[in-house]
Amino acid sequence: MKNLRLKAARAARDLSQQQLADLVGVSRQTINAIEMGDYNPTINLCVAVCRALGKTLDELFWAEESHT
């Protein structure tokens, strides 16, 4: 599942994937994989991303329950 909230938060800060990757200390491909939902980051990386974007874990990574 794509992480559109992360993408939106990054865009709101006017950061490219490479800039966010440099802030967090990972490769650009890793940020892309998280946004595309191809990779589930560890809690350490989630926290680092949240700190870089000034968001909470809930705001960026908590999956909302789907009501069926």
Partner: protein
């Protein structure tokens, strides 16, 4: 049996050479380990690639043992080329998986350097291989067995595959990058 001084000298020289190469590899490896940094996704992808390379090596060894045990002592290659081929196959599997999983290059490494290096090594080996084809003193097959001289074409194939993998991955990445920047421009 009387051991000649020349034999002892050769033995010591050989062991010193091996020790020297081992020390060199240790220090070069330590330096590169310190400089290379992979993120968590890359480390995970490299672990999968190591696993695939390990099983490639094991399967090739098993097939080779089966073929040679059923062939009444038949061996298709000499004692050097057989393990060398399997090691090269395993390394190729590892590197190709790493390349396509974006886990081959550390965070501070440049792709173009490796592309050039793989291309130059493949080209140099093709040069040696083609030069040896007409040389009767450098037979690739002797008495029905592939000789150690086939290491050149093996290395040539390996680096040609690695070069092609890097080039294909670079093209794919460039296409995706263009698509991604178009999306981001459209969104902003």
């Amino acid at each position: 049996m009387l051991i000649s001084p020349a034999y002892i000298f050769d033995l010591i020289a050989g062991m010193a050479l091996i020790a020297g190469i081992a020390v060199m590899f240790y220090f070069v490896g330590r330096k590169s380990r310190r400089e290379k940094k992979y993120d968590e996704r890359q480390s995970l992808a490299r672990l999968k690639a190591y696993r695939a390379a390990f099983w490639t090596f094991v399967v090739l060894l098993a097939i080779n043992a089966f073929v040679e045990s059923t062939g009444d002592g038949y061996r298709w290659g000499d004692a050097i080329i057989e393990p060398f081929l399997f090691i090269c196959a395993a390394i190729t599997v590892f590197v190709v998986i790493c390349i396509f999983e974006d886990a081959y290059f550390a965070l501070n490494e440049k792709r173009s350097f490796y592309l050039w290096m793989f291309g130059i090594i493949a080209f140099a080996n093709s040069f040696i291989f083609l030069g040896n084809i007409g040389n009767y003193n450098c037979a690739y097959i002797e008495n029905g067995r592939v000789t150690f001289r086939a290491m050149n074409p093996v290395v040539l194939v390996m680096f040609a595959i690695l070069f092609a993998s890097l080039a294909i991955k670079a093209l794919i990445s460039r296409g995706k990058e263009r698509e991604r920047s178009r999306d981001e421009e459209g969104a902003s």
